[in-house]
Every structure is written in C-alpha cells, then in structure tokens.
C-alpha cells in the first residue's frame, strides 16, 4: 500500500504539473459567489466518520462542529441553512476535492500547513490543535522520546504522519481510515496513536484504559476552512463572516452544541477560535 500511494502521488504530481501548465483549469469560476448563488446551494466537504467534527448521526444526518459552521455559512450566504450539499471526504482527498472544483469549501478539521497552503487557500481559523499521542495506560507514552524503537500508529496524509516521518527511530504504522487506526490501537498494533490533540482527547475520554500522555507535540496549529487556490472572493467572504459570527460568540455556541459532550469540562478557548482571531 505504501508503494501504491507513492505511485498515486507521482501520477498526481505529473498530471498536476501537466494540468497546471497546459490545460485550461475547468474548475475555475464554478465556485465564485455569484456562481454559488445561481446554483442555489453551497457544496461543502465534511468528514462522515470523525465525531465530534463531522459525522453522520443515527438518523443519517451530517452533524458535528464543522457541520455546525457549514450550515451557518449556507444560512449567511443563501438565507437557508439547508441549502447545502455535503460531500463525504477522507483526509487523503481534501485538496483534490477543491482543486477539481468538486466542492466550494472544505470544512473537515483541515489543519493549516505550508505545504497545503501552496495548493489551497485557507481562510481564518475557527479551531486549533497540536499533535497528541493516545496510548494504553499499561504502556503510557508521556513524551516523544518514549516512542523510540516502538511502533506508532498514524493516519496517512495527516499532520502527525508528516511530523513523525521526520523523526528517526520510530516505526510508523500507517492506516488510511481513522476508524481502522483506532481499531489497530485497541488491537495493540502500536504503543500509541498520533493524531490531532483534539481527536485523541475525545477518543481517550470515551475509551477507558487509554489516555493522552502528551498533547502538545509540534506547534499549536490553526484549523481553518479552505477554498480552491485563487478563490480570494470566497475566502474573504468566509473571513468577514467569521468576524461577524465572532460578535455573537458563535464558536462558543458551536462548542456547547457539538464538542462539549465529547470533551467534558475543558476550557473552550483551549481548542476553539472565536471570530477568526488566532
């Protein structure tokens, strides 16, 4: 599988280069605000199996912190929070969904990184995170050095994958699906699982016998909505909207509605960003 993904990356890079230089980019201009209004609905990519950010509830409805923002964006832009078409996304295809014009906005716990910023435009953040490692209480991981010579589970294409790939002496076990990775941790296929602090905190809160020994690896990073590279019109609109929503403490409302049941009594300001002010 590792080779396969390398291959995907190479093919994508080759075609991406060819695409950038010779083809007309057909995705252009399908996601201008006028085009969205004419279409009548916003196309937003969200996760479907990543509670509490984006998941599908018992009734088959999209829910979560990201979805809460997505619905409000639709209400602000089109006057109706139901005028929205959700596209299911995976960590590995968020950039492609924007580049190919399949969606207008990605609201999928998307951490801002320099690499990603080359290919998509991030708006101001609505959330923040670092990397955390969740481990079994029998074999606790309390600092990065504890991982030397051991197996660490990561999800391919995530910030944690990139970060730990640069550290020597840690054996990375990579999974494509979040649910598979957590199952692997339960099955003892690694001593720990590295992912965004928020996600591992929530998971440890729900799973007895596991806890987050270290939660501030790397820099504290902003998580922001992303639009197609060059779509400054939509990005600016999102920034203005976030600032406006900050005046009514919208992120705190979203926290209470979606995150609180998962994190329990933590300080909202530790993870949410109000009004786009990081």
């Amino acid at each position: 599988m590792r080779n396969l993904f390398k291959f995907v990356a190479i093919v994508a890079a080759v075609f991406g280069f060819a695409g950038a230089s010779t083809f007309v980019n057909a995705a252009d201009a399908q996601d201008s605000i006028a085009a969205i209004k004419a279409r009548g609905h916003l196309k937003i990519a969200v996760f479907s199996d990543k509670p509490p950010f984006g998941f599908v509830d018992k009734d088959g409805k999209n829910q979560g912190y990201d979805v809460y923002f997505a619905r409000r964006f639709a209400k602000e832009l089109l006057g109706d929070e139901s005028k929205i078409e959700f596209t299911l996304t995976e960590p590995a295809n968020r950039v492609d969904l924007l580049e190919s014009g399949r969606v207008d906005i990605v609201l999928a716990n998307f951490t801002v990184t320099p690499e990603r910023s080359k290919r998509v435009d991030f708006a101001k953040p609505y959330f923040k995170t670092a990397i955390g490692v969740v481990s079994n209480d029998q074999t606790p991981i309390n600092k990065v050095e504890d991982l030397q010579g051991k197996k660490l589970i990561v999800i391919r294409g995530t910030t944690a994958d990139v970060y730990f790939s640069k550290i020597k002496g840690i054996d990375l076990v990579k999974y494509d699906q979040i649910s598979d990775a957590f199952q692997a941790l339960r099955d003892g296929r690694g001593v720990g699982l590295a992912q965004d602090t928020t996600l591992v905190l929530a998971w440890a809160n729900e799973n007895k016998g596991f806890s987050v020994g270290v939660g501030d690896i790397g820099d504290v990073e902003p998580i922001a909505p992303a639009v197609r590279k060059g779509n400054t019109e939509l990005r600016d609109w999102i920034n203005d909207t976030l600032a406006k929503l900050g005046k009514e403490n919208f992120a705190h409302k979203a926290f209470d509605a979606t995150l609180k049941p998962y994190y329990g009594n933590i300080k909202p300001e530790d993870i949410i960003v109000e009004g786009g002010v990081f």
């Binding site: 093919v11 075609f15 083809f23 199996d49 509670p51 088959g60 299911l88 649910s179």
Partner: protein, 226 residues
C-alpha cells in the same frame, strides 16, 4: 457478555443505512461486471488477430490498465477529468466507468487466452467440415472456451466486488464506509461496535460472493466433458 454491543445491528435505522450502502456496492459491481463481460468477450475475440493494427493498441490498453492500480484510475477519472476537462461525473458513475474498463481489459485477456489455448485442429477440422469463420467461433471455439474461462472470470467478478471499498476515496458511500460511520458514532456507548459491524459486513460480502462461486461450480459441473 458475549453478545454485548450486538444491539447496534438490531437498530432498524442502522440496518437501513447499511442496506443503502449495500445497494450502492452491488449496483456498481453488477453494472461493471456486465459491461466487463460483454465488452471483454468482444475485445478478446478481436485480440485473437495477430495483426499489428490490433495487437499494438490492444497491448497498450491491456498493459496500461493492468499496471496502473485501480485507485490511480479512480483519482484520474474523478479529480483529473473534473479539473482538466470539466467532466463532473459523480463518484458512482466514475466507479462504474473505471471498473468496467478494468474488468473489460482483464476479461478480454481471459477470453483471448481461453480461445487461443484451444488446439489448432479444432479450427482446422471445423474448416474442413465447411464451417464459415463466424460459424467456427460461434459453434466450435466459443462453447469450448467458455468452459475454460469460467473459473477465472468468476474470480474476476469477485475481485471487482471486493475492490468497491476504494470508491470511498472518490466520495461514494458504500457499505464498508457506512459501517465505519456507524462504528464511530456509536463508540461512546458501544466499545464492541467495530466487532459487530465488521462481522456483519464480512457476512454480507460472503453472501454476495458465495452465490457467484456456487453458480460457477454448478456450471462447471454441467459443462464438463463426460
């Protein structure tokens, strides 16, 4: 508590969603298999010709499909075509197109090999009896070849079915993804959700693939030379 957590499978809403996912899986696989078998037969027979005009395009088609992983083709058709050509096929259509092309290539080679492996004297004897070229194929070669290609083509059909979970990367929610959604949303209350949901999906895949295998065994027995 050997059955704790099994109630996740008794919830009618959960089962309905799994069924929806299953319909997507079966629809993509079934349509692709039909296209693959029909087009594969046609191209396979054409590929028996030794002419360069046939062999060069055929080999390029076959090898490029075979060498490149299905996931790459899915990405290329779904994201690439949308980006460069503005073809916004939905994920399911893209999946059917890619799996049909892949299946066609594999099937064509199976057909070509099956017919090609028949002894030359079959063709020669049929010709000596005065059968025309199309009659030789229709009445002599293809009936014998079908017996040879049956086990391999059934294997191809089950491979197509088992490749459908890749579709999740082009935003298609098939049965396995629904399963993962159920597991994640129930994790708070049900730590064995993964076991039960994956267990059910295992049974579902078995129920799809086993009848196909059974049918092939029946047909093989029926058509075997007494």
């Amino acid at each position: 508590m050997p059955f704790s957590g099994a109630d996740i499978l008794l919830d009618s809403a959960n089962l309905a969603r799994l069924a929806e996912g299953l319909i997507v899986t079966v629809r993509v696989a079934a349509v692709s298999i039909v296209f693959a078998f029909v087009l594969g037969m046609l191209i396979g027979v054409i590929a028996l010709s030794r002419g360069k005009l046939v062999q060069i395009p055929y080999q390029i088609f076959l090898q490029s499909i075979r060498i490149v992983p299905q996931l790459v083709w899915l990405f290329l058709f779904f994201f690439g075509f949308a980006k460069w050509l503005g073809w916004n096929w939905n994920g399911e259509t893209t999946g059917i197109v890619v799996f049909s092309i892949w299946g066609t290539a594999e099937m064509a080679d199976i057909v070509r090999a099956s017919i090609g492996s028949l002894p030359v004297h079959q063709t020669q004897s049929a010709a000596a009896l005065g059968l025309s070229r199309s009659q030789i194929y229709l009445f002599v070669l293809i009936p014998q070849a079908v017996r040879r290609l049956l086990p391999v083509s059934i294997n191809l059909a089950t491979r197509i079915i088992k490749t459908t979970p890749l579709l999740v990367l082009i935003t298609v929610v098939e049965v396995l993804k629904v399963g993962q959604q159920l597991i994640e949303v129930n994790i708070l209350t049900n730590s064995l959700a993964a076991f039960w949901v994956y267990g059910l999906i295992f049974v579902i895949y078995f129920l799809i693939c086993f009848p196909v295998a059974l049918l092939s065994r029946k047909l093989e027995a029926r058509w075997s030379v007494q």
